[in-house]
């Protein structure tokens, strides 16, 4: 059942990303409709980062994007018929890489929030 749960998480992450992407598009590309003209300037990034809502948004978005992306990447690698032991290695490697990415991202987000 583990693989079913992993796959379901992948779907769930995809669903979350759908909304996050919508929010992302709104924030960065349609932002002038909301009166923000330079969404990527240091000031506006920091201003957003210090809102609790954005903190949650970033943390969830980060986890979902990393999980969804790496799960999909692993699927592609698996199609190369690597053999069981190499497959385990790849999975472990991706888990470590994913964890590092999420941890680094989280640390940056939290630090920005706390500043």
């Amino acid at each position: 059942m583990n693989s079913v749960r992993c796959w379901f998480l992948f779907l769930l992450a995809g669903l979350i990303l759908f909304f996050i992407m919508a929010a992302h598009m709104a924030t960065f590309h349609l932002s002038h409709f909301f009166g923000i003209h330079e969404p990527l300037s240091y000031d506006s990034v920091m201003a957003r980062s210090q809102q609790a809502l954005f903190l949650i948004f970033y943390l969830i978005g980060l986890s979902a994007a990393v999980y969804h992306g790496l799960y999909g990447f692993r699927r592609i690698l698996m199609e190369l018929s690597l053999g069981r032991s190499l497959e385990k290695l790849v999975t472990a490697g991706l888990c470590v890489a994913g964890s590092v990415m999420v941890l680094v991202g989280m640390a940056a987000t939290v630090m920005a929030f706390l500043q």
């Binding site: 059942m1 693989s3 079913v4 992993c6 796959w7 379901f8 699927r75 018929s81």
Partner: protein
């Protein structure tokens, strides 16, 4: 009408090279690709090798690539495919061993790994006094998926099978769902494990080519989606696991009209 037939040839005894042999064939209305091939073998070139048996789309022997699409040769009328050139090649995604013949051992083995039979704890205890109940609706819920003739066409059409040799493939996965969905079965968890782990059901890319190619209307892609849904619901504990249907009580006496009795013995 005369058409040109190009047949892919390969004989490992002679040469490792594949090549095409070309023949002329007089085609009539209603003639199937298999009819054409048999005519060629009997009249033009007895060395063409291909599998065939039932010639009515039930045995699954004669699947091949016909003008680049996987079809059953006996189920395909030539004039519906072409009026000029017919190209026959061995099935994709199966190892070619000679001419139009492919090795199916891996394919059959995958079918076996998904436990294609009813699994229930009480199997040994059931005596043979009554049938197990199964309503027409319960039957309907899996019947379509049991039409599979193991011809290998879905695997030839599947893009995942093309790259991942270990992928269980649409045939085996559809059969896993067929048995799990059977109201007489209680082996869902075991079969889900067999179908989901490793290169199993989650490798499906939703291409749907299997369902389009299937000559028997099995719709393996649909089975895969339904199976995935069931797997998720089970893993989240949202689907109650039902006990397998039990034996029905004996019928009450209800004689049909006009049934004769066997005549009295006239010997002894």
């Amino acid at each position: 009408m005369k058409i040109k037939v190009k047949v892919s040839r390969f004989d490992p005894d002679k040469s490792p090279e594949r090549y095409f042999s070309e023949y002329e064939l007089e085609v009539s209305e209603g003639m199937t690709v298999l009819d054409g091939l048999i005519w060629l073998k009997e009249n033009a070139d007895p060395t063409i090798s291909f599998r065939y048996s039932c010639r009515m789309g039930v045995c699954g022997s004669c699947a091949m690539m016909i003008n680049s699409y996987p079809h059953l040769a006996c189920h395909t009328q030539i004039l519906e495919i072409t009026k000029s050139v017919l190209v026959l090649e061995p099935l994709c995604n199966h190892a070619n061993v000679r001419d139009l013949i492919c090795d199916f051992s891996a394919f059959f083995e995958k079918h076996r790994t998904i436990k294609p039979h009813l699994l229930r704890e009480d199997a040994e205890k059931l005596d043979l006094t009554g049938e197990i109940s199964q309503t027409p609706q319960e039957l309907e819920s899996y019947l379509q998926f049991s039409y599979c003739i193991k011809c290998g066409i879905c695997v030839a059409a599947c893009p995942t099978c093309a790259t991942d040799k270990e992928y269980l493939g649409p045939q085996a996965l559809a059969q896993a769902y067929r048995y799990t969905q059977d109201s007489r079965d209680a082996g869902g968890d075991k079969r889900i494990e067999a179908a989901a782990e490793g290169h199993g059901i989650h490798h499906c890319h939703y291409a749907g080519a299997c369902s389009e190619a299937c000559p028997k209307g099995v719709d393996p892609a649909f089975a895969i989606q339904l199976f995935r849904k069931q797997m998720v619901l089970r893993s989240l504990g949202l689907k109650e696991t039902r006990p397998p249907a039990g034996e029905m009580p004996p019928m009450t006496l209800n004689p049909k009209p006009n049934i004769p009795k066997p005549p009295e013995p006239t010997i002894k």
